[in-house]
């Protein structure tokens, strides 16, 4: 899918046992090495949000999720000001790094596609 979620082969890799056994360790290493967890981010905090569809998806978060997201963004901004990662106990652990926003983005993208379909639908009489 082209969009905030970008092109992904994840589902293909996950469907194959051999591939996922090989690639998973590399993927985990890459996610840790890219350093966003050290600044207290979850992966979904990094999604491009300057888009109407992601804005709509953000609106569908629960109040708690919205609050936590805003907190992580502020904490990371402060860490950025200090030019240093957060102390280690505040890093996001791999098991905390859940995709809280992605399902909403997928849902919104589906709705947009459906609207597009209905806007351009051709009605045939049979």
């Amino acid at each position: 899918m082209v969009g905030p979620l970008s092109v992904s082969l994840a589902s293909y890799v996950q469907s194959s046992r051999t591939l996922s056994r090989w690639i998973k360790p590399i993927a985990n290493w890459y996610a840790n090495a890219s350093g966003y967890r050290q600044y207290g981010f979850k992966y979904d905090d990094l999604l491009v949000e300057e888009r109407p569809d992601v804005q709509r998806a953000l609106g569908r978060l629960t109040t708690r999720e919205k609050y936590d997201r805003a907190f992580r963004l502020k904490r990371a901004s402060q860490a950025s000001v200090l030019h240093a990662p957060l102390p280690k106990e505040q890093w996001i652990k791999p098991e905390e790094d859940n995709r809280y926003l992605m399902p909403h983005v997928v849902e919104v993208a589906k709705e947009d596609a459906e609207r597009q379909m209905w806007d351009t639908v051709k009605v045939k009489k049979n």
Partner: protein, 425 residues
């Protein structure tokens, strides 16, 4: 000869205006009338009115959730596809029933029955739809009733008269704590086989029964919704309001099945003229000041009735004068009624009852509840009950009514509006 012909013609029409037979299709009650209308309508009538609600406003929220996304199609898909077929979808709520209606061209019943039944069987009740689409509708319903003192007064009157059950408002409180989980749980308890009747007009009963059997067979079968029997309390309240006419509601309630006598009493009190632009001959009309109005309110429910007079005027003094006249007329009816007045009242009440079944909404609201209750749902049965009314029975019903504690609601400028005792109650 002519008289005989006229009466047969009448009977034919009456027969067409009734759900003569109620079929049982997969445990659901299905009734349909086909009077050769150019369009068809199917209503799913559910015992999910506000009297059964678990939390204030949940019934209203469920009504506003109608036709949102289901397992079969999204909210947008429902709207666009119905538009392609040229159908109209609507949902309405009463204190006892929720009605989901689709009106469409003949021949499209398969699609529209599917739209209605998929909401009943597989509505998703998503949180974002609740926040994005449903909450604004709930709020606009509540704002509309706030701006209409007549509806507002009747709402408050129900709360005073019946407290719980029928006292529950049709509208959500403006600050409510309804969540999508509440609505989901309410829908789950309401959408069961014993609670649902499917009513069609302009559609063959066999066709409808077959479609219903196919699409609603999966509905869980469980006991029907029930509440404790209604009891009547009554009382007085005054609510400050701005921007509308000064309004007073004077009502009396009874419990038990609605009687024809009370309908006739309401028709007797009603000052609505039979000829447009005239004043009518009701004793009330002559006594009320210009600009003030009195309407008779007759609200029958399955186990209670609220009868009353809604008085509106520009100023408190006008309302006081009109209210006094209204109460006087009510008391006069309680002390006795002349045979001519009785005849007029019965004819008026009969016409009102018959005319209510003329429209599709009326047909569903008048006869639908009877189908759901398993009672004979014919107009003839309800009209026949008017024939036995005597002047004595009518004034006895009125005096029994007046003996009870009145339900008195004043909405508007509470400083100027009269108190119940000032009107002679």
């Amino acid at each position: 000869m002519l008289a005989a012909r006229v009466s047969t013609a009448r009977n034919v029409q009456r027969a067409a205006r009734s759900f003569a037979t109620v079929a049982d299709s997969a445990g659901l009650k299905v009734a349909a009338i086909d009077a050769n209308q150019p369009t068809s309508a199917v209503t799913i009538l559910v015992k999910a009115g506000s009297r059964f609600e678990t939390k204030p406003g949940v019934a209203n929220a469920l009504k506003n959730f109608a036709f949102k996304s289901t397992a079969k199609r999204s909210a947008l898909g429902t709207v666009r596809e119905s538009e392609l077929y040229g159908g109209v979808l609507s949902a309405s709520l009463t204190r006892e029933h929720l009605a989901l209606t689709a009106e469409f061209l003949r021949g499209d019943e398969q699609f529209f029955v599917d739209v209605l039944s998929s909401f009943v069987t597989s509505a998703k009740f998503t949180r974002h739809e609740f926040e994005e689409y449903v909450t604004p509708l709930i709020e606009s319903d509540a704002a509309a009733v706030d701006a209409d003192p007549a509806t507002y007064a009747v709402e408050i009157a129900h709360a005073l008269a019946f407290r719980s059950g029928l006292g529950a408002s049709l509208f959500a409180p403006s600050h409510n704590s309804i969540t999508v989980e509440d609505i989901k749980a309410y829908a789950k308890s309401a959408f069961t086989k014993g609670n649902i009747a499917v009513l069609g007009s302009g559609i063959d009963q066999g066709v409808l029964a077959k479609l219903v059997e196919k699409s609603l067979a999966a509905t869980p079968a469980s006991t029907t919704a029930s509440t404790s029997a209604t009891s009547y309390y009554g009382g007085e309240t005054r609510v400050e309001a701005h921007g509308g006419p000064q309004t007073v509601f004077i009502g009396f309630g009874t419990t038990g099945a609605p009687s024809a006598e009370l309908a006739a009493l309401a028709a007797h009190l009603s000052p609505a003229p039979s000829v447009k632009w005239s004043k009518g001959v009701s004793p009330i009309t002559a006594a009320i000041p210009a600009g003030a109005s009195v309407q008779a309110v007759y609200l029958p429910y399955s186990d209670a009735t609220l009868v009353g007079l809604l008085v509106q005027g520009q100023s408190g003094a006008d309302v006081k004068q009109a209210g006094k006249a209204a109460v006087e007329a009510l008391k006069k009816a309680a002390s006795g009624i002349s045979p001519e007045e009785l005849k007029t009242a019965v004819a008026k009440a009969k016409f009102a009852a018959a005319n209510a079944t003329e429209s599709r909404d009326g047909l569903v609201s008048v006869l639908g509840s009877k189908v759901l209750a398993g009672a004979p749902a014919t107009l003839e049965a309800s009209l026949a009950s008017f024939d036995g009314i005597s002047a004595v029975a009518l004034s006895k019903a009125a005096s029994d009514l007046v003996k009870g504690k009145p339900t008195y609601v004043a909405v508007g400028d509470v400083k100027a509006l009269p108190y119940a005792d000032e009107l002679g109650l």
